[in-house]
Each structure stands twice: as structure tokens, then as C-alpha cells.
Symmetry: C2
Subunit: 306 residues, 2 copies
Amino acid sequence: PREGSDGEDNAEVEAAKSIYMVSDGTGWTAEHSVSAALGQFDYCLVDRACPVNTHLFSGIDDVERLMEIVKQAALEGAMLIYTIADPSMAESARQACMMWGVPSTDILGPITEAIASHLGVSPSGLPRGAPGRKVPLTEEYFRRIEAIEFTIKQDDGALPRNLHMADIILTGVSRTGKTPLSIYLSQKGYKVANVPIVMGVELPKTLFEVDPEKVVGLTINPLVLQTIRRARAKTLGFAKEARSNYCEMDYVRQELEFASRIFAQNPVWPVIEVSGRAIEETAAVVLRLYQDRKEKCLMPRISKRY
Amino acid sequence: PREGSDGEDNAEVEAAKSIYMVSDGTGWTAEHSVSAALGQFDYCLVDRACPVNTHLFSGIDDVERLMEIVKQAALEGAMLIYTIADPSMAESARQACMMWGVPSTDILGPITEAIASHLGVSPSGLPRGAPGRKVPLTEEYFRRIEAIEFTIKQDDGALPRNLHMADIILTGVSRTGKTPLSIYLSQKGYKVANVPIVMGVELPKTLFEVDPEKVVGLTINPLVLQTIRRARAKTLGFAKEARSNYCEMDYVRQELEFASRIFAQNPVWPVIEVSGRAIEETAAVVLRLYQDRKEKCLMPRISKRY
Ligand SMILES: Nc1ncnc2c1ncn2[C@@H]1O[C@H](COP(=O)(O)O)[C@@H](O)[C@H]1O
Ligand SMILES: Nc1ncnc2c1ncn2[C@@H]1O[C@H](COP(=O)(O)O)[C@@H](O)[C@H]1O
Ligand SMILES: [Mg+2]
Ligand SMILES: [Mg+2]
């Protein structure tokens, strides 16, 4: 998705279908679900054969603003996807949409009801951020922040003496996505270090002293890597000479082979191919491996207590 | 939520109800939706009056493994929440759950169907990561990674000369959550810089030279701040003297007043109270302000093109 003002690219915008997302909270749940569902239409989104604009309205916790949004959706011929905790406000959304001919889907209600009957308790009906509600400063809260701060400090091979403190250590050549992957995992509460593999540069000794079960190698198709490196060199405005080396196919291949040899010498490290995978997809693979190794469980899963 | 092995804390685990989440993809959509819905049961989750364990099974793209999971759910008396793109596999999930008496909810199907009829095109039925599907190296992909890398480099007041390159600049005293908030926003594609306010330390000149509309002040209740600082001092193992200063109520109050005066001198900067707000909640407020100022729109929204 690209962000854009409503006015931009008028011809396309006119043809585009709108999806309104409304939440009494942050709107991230609606956005996440809609973006997953839109994955089912990738085939016609890529070339903008079926252009879509999404509009996220967050913090909508009174009926007046809700009604304005429904009316606006009707004017634009938009559909409306909502997460509203208060049952009577959710019902207003449903009825107003029906009245105004706006197709609508409630994505919080059904799952909340299912969980309520499973647990045998009623939902509070209170939106996130309702007055009086306090975000508890739980252990988990501090753990997540610590993980993020640790991960930032360890980025790009910094502080190799701290590798033993990491939960997960990622290693691979430049532009295999170590940094964004580390950050993504850190937000889920894992302390991640990443160590770059650079041809001709020795890896830190500590990498071979830590538990090898927490090291993960990243590899990538050479053509994909070259494309990514070219884009990066352009952004950074590398000097022409440096760029030609960093992005040159021979060099790219040699460096990947250099990495492969290191991986072969450390057969306990799993190696993940990142080409064609989004960051969050690689993250899922890393965590599946992590959990497998930790739990030695027949059915690999990530478990949490609430 | 806390991660934990299944065996831990047996007494509690036995009483806890299980929620199985199954996805043919990463499982993050199911996890996100379940965690939002569980917010509706916070009131009985906090004291573990209605303990819940979630179990995430990702990458489940064959019926055999799906069936094993459903059977296991039946054994554990769990409910099952799923996102499965392939319609016939989703139907198998539904039927198997019915047969085994496992309450189940499909959270991808309904939203996909609603979008399909709105767009007038059919869903592909292909899961994320289906063979042949390629993650396109779009401009957005590069922009997001650039935002993350920029944000890491700018953390904690680093490189003040680059402040003009940021989309958003966060400022506030230590432990107002600038770092995790910056990282959260960077993952949404925003280049974020954060500048700490420390009593007696001059702020970088560049902070007052950039467009003030992109600066956001963070403030916090002194008691909450003290709690957070104490937790941090413990983690970092600060020397006793330093700790007593950093966490001492008088000092905390003075530093917050110092920050308030700076905010008052820069009335264009909005000031957000972070006490009792989760990172993602503050992020939603920041982006609402950002969008408001950029679009001067009657109905503030975050718009994207797909
Ligand atoms: N911790 C929570 N407590 C209560 N409701 C929540 C919580 N988290 C999310 N929700 C609700 O779940 C829906 C999605 O949240 P959001 O992702 O913030 O838009 C909204 O209706 C929120 O009010
Ligand atoms: N880009 C995509 N293309 C196709 N399907 C997707 C995409 N992203 C998510 N999905 C589907 O949406 C559901 C939720 O995805 P996930 O969050 O990865 O578990 C799964 O059934 C995925 O297969
Ligand atoms: Mg990096
Ligand atoms: Mg910080």
C-alpha cells in the first residue's frame, strides 16, 4: 500500500473502490485484517486492475462521528469494516450501514462472542482506552521494551561481547534483511542480535562461543540480492566505484558462497531463504524454529498465557 | 501475555481455557485479532480469574496437519480460530471442528467475501507464501526498510543534524517511551527521530530549526514515570547514587516541569500524555495528528492505495 492524499492521481482514484475501516481504538486490528484479506486480491491489485483505497478512522467512540463516517462512506460508495467494543454502538453502525446502503462487516463482534461463550464470561463492552482503564506496567511490558532496546544496540554486529545475551542471533550478508527482521522480532519480545557476514572480514569469535541453537543464517537469491543492493546504493548515494563492487554480480555471488561455506561449517544453524518472503513471513519461520528447538514439541506452536 | 512452555504452572494451566489459532500463513492476523478480542475480557484476565492460554499454529497448509490440530484441540477442550485462504481447506476445518465438537471461528472468510462482493472480483484462494507468489520489491518495501534504518540511527538524540530528514520527531524525558514508539512508527514507514529532554542539557539547535509541525512532545504522570524508571534502574543495575537521583520523586517532578516549560515555549508541538497508554495506542494518536496536519481534512483518516 502507498499512502496518499485523497486528491492525488484523480483518474485512478475515481475508478478505485474504497474500504472504510472504523475503530473505537487504534484501528490496527482492522487494518491488519483488511490487509491480510486484500492479499486474496493481489492478482488484480498489482497492476491496479481492481484499485482499492483504504481509509482508517481510529478513536471513533461516539455515535455522532460514527454516523458522519457512515454517510461519507455512502457518498463515496465505500464499504465499511469496523471494530467497536460497545455493543449498542456496534449495532448502530450495522443499522446505519443498512439504512444508507453501505456494505458492512463487524470483525470484532463474532470473535468476541465466540470467545465469550468458550470462556463462559461476558465481554466488557469497553473500548481500548476507555476512561479508568489502565495499561498495567506488567513484566511483559518491560520485557518488550528491553528487547527493543537491546536489539537496536546490537544492530549490525555492534557489541559482539553481548551476543550471549541474545535470544536469537541472525547472520547473513548485507541486505538479507537482518535489521528489519531483528526489529520485527524484538517487538514480539525477543532480544535479537544480528551479525553481518562480509567477505574477507572475520566474524566475531563470540558468535561461535554462544549456543549454536540460537543462531539463524539468512540466505537469498543472488539476483534478488543484487536488485536490493542496487536500490540501497542509489539511496545512500554510494560512490560509483564502491557501488559497482557491492552490487556487481560476481561479487554478490562470491559473497553468498562465502556465507554458504560458513553456514556449512556450522550445520546446527538453520539457514532460511528470504527471497520472495516478507519480513513478517521470515519472522514466522524464525519463531517456529525457535519454538521447536525450545520445546521439542510434537506440534510446534507459540504459546502464551493471558 | 506471557510465553511459557505448556507444562509450567500446572495448577493454573489445568483451569485455563485454550484458544488454538491456526493459519496457513504467519498467524499474525489471528494472533492480533484474538489479542484485541481478549481485551474485552481484561477485567477477568488480570487476576487470572478466567485464565486463557493461546496456541498459535502457523504455516498449516495441508489438511493432515490441520486435522491433527483439530483433534488435539478436541482433546484439550480448546476452541479454534483460523485464517485459511483455500476455501476447501477452510471448509474442512469447519466440518472437522463440528465433528469433534470444537467451537470454531473463521476470521478470514467473512471479510474476504465482503471485500470480494464489494470489488466484484473473486479471491484467489491462495495462501500467503503459495508457490509462485513473489513478494514484489516495491517502492513501499524499500521505504519501510529505510524508515526502520533511519529510526535506529536517530535513536536517543543521535545525529541531530539529520532531524530535518525525519517525518516525525518525538521529544520527552527519559522513559516516556520514545524509543519503542519510534520503532513502532518506523515499521509503518515513517522516519522517526527521538530527542531526549534531560534537565540541564541543552536541546540540539536543529530541533528548533525544523518544521515545528513534525515535532511531538511526550509527557507522563510523575508516579508512573518513577515506577518505570525504577524498573529500568534495576535492569541496568545503576549505581545506587545515580539511581536515587534518576528515580527520586523530586527530580522526576523537576525534570517533567523542565520539559513542560520547553513544550510551553513551543506551542505548535502537540503534547501527548502517555501514562496508561500502550505503545500502539500512542502511535495511533501521533499518526492521527500527523495526518490531520498534513491533510487539513475534515474527517481525519489514514489513507492508503492498494
Ligand atoms: N486492551 C483492550 N481492551 C479493551 N478493548 C480492546 C483492547 N484492545 C483492543 N480492544 C478493542 O478491539 C478492537 C480493535 O482494537 P484496535 O486494534 O485498537 O482498533 C477495538 O474495538 C478495541 O476497542
Ligand atoms: N499477501 C497475501 N497473499 C495471500 N494471502 C495472504 C496474504 N497475506 C495474508 N494472507 C492470508 O491471510 C491469512 C492471514 O495471514 P497471516 O497473518 O500470515 O496468518 C492467511 O490465510 C494468509 O494466507
Ligand atoms: Mg542491517
Ligand atoms: Mg530511548
